[in-house]
């Protein structure tokens, strides 16, 4: 399946979301899962643009695959190393007032997908993997 390469700019977030939607639809995801993936990938890419490259420019690579009942989105970038999974997960049982400060975007990623994994690639770049479990009733892969 083809990957998307785009310049790390806010104006390309819509293109990233469009790509994720198209790929996820083709892989049999339901509408709710697609919306959740769009949100998670958009927030992750937004963080790469604003906090990773800090406006200096660079590229973001996005790939979408399906592994049985899981949709897997991989984001690669060459910004300075940053592991968003180490950002503390907010305790959502606490009132908003008492939740630890942190990125709204990372909070939304955690809400939208089932797993978020990070690794530094052998080339020394960032690789963020977002995994969404699909409902068993999802259309099977042809």
């Amino acid at each position: 399946m083809a990957d998307l390469f785009v310049a790390a700019q806010f104006e390309n977030l819509a293109e990233i979301r469009r790509f994720v939607r198209e790929q996820a639809e083709a892989l049999g995801a339901d509408e709710e899962a697609i919306c959740d993936l769009e949100l998670a990938v958009d927030e992750a890419a937004c963080n790469i643009v604003s906090h990773g490259y800090e406006g200096r420019g660079g590229t973001i690579e996005v790939g979408v695959t399906r592994d049985e009942d899981r949709l897997v989105v991989c984001l690669h970038d060459e910004a300075p190393l940053f592991d968003p999974t180490r950002h503390p997960a907010p305790d959502v049982t606490l009132p908003l007032e008492q939740r630890p400060l942190g990125g709204l975007g990372i909070f939304l990623i955690r809400q939208a997908v089932d797993e978020m994994r990070y690794r530094t690639t052998p080339e020394g770049n960032n690789e963020l993997t977002l995994i969404k479990h699909l409902a068993p009733t999802g259309v099977p892969v042809r």
Binding site: L13, E43, P90, L104, L108
Partner: protein
């Protein structure tokens, strides 16, 4: 992003802001600018019609928060503040915001509002007349 603005009259004059498209990190400042322009022109009560917004990210939440502060005549927040912006509005608001109502959020947008607690900070209406009459 195209943003339609028009006036509605309830017990008080109400300005309706209707953004068309996605509210993300690329577009959210345009909504803030449109609200600021209306504020400068005298608008003090606003309805944000989200019926034609099919995607809302954390940046869109920051726009809503910023408009909420604008309508309270308060200093605008740091647009990078994230949760701290939401903490601030939580501290300020013990009931639904008196000057800003939300209209017709679509399911994916409504989900983000609910996940982040915004749904409790604003009256959300599905009907324009009801939203205007709520002021």
């Amino acid at each position: 992003m195209q943003i339609t603005t028009y006036q509605a009259q309830g017990r008080v004059p109400v300005t309706v802001l209707q953004p068309h498209g996605d509210l993300d990190a690329h577009t959210y400042q345009e909504l803030i600018a449109a609200a600021q322009q209306e504020w400068n022109g005298g608008a003090r009560k606003m309805v944000l019609d989200l019926g034609d917004v099919h995607y809302l990210s954390s940046s869109g939440l920051v726009a809503i928060h910023t408009i909420a502060r604008l309508l309270r005549g308060q200093e605008l927040p740091d647009l990078e503040a994230g949760w701290s912006a939401i903490h601030a509005i939580e501290r300020e608001v013990h009931e639904a915001h008196p000057h800003l109502k939300l209209l017709s959020p679509q399911p994916p947008v409504d989900k983000v509002l609910t996940l982040t607690g915004f749904g409790k900070m604003f009256d959300i209406h599905s009907d324009l007349e009801a939203a205007v009459a709520a002021f």
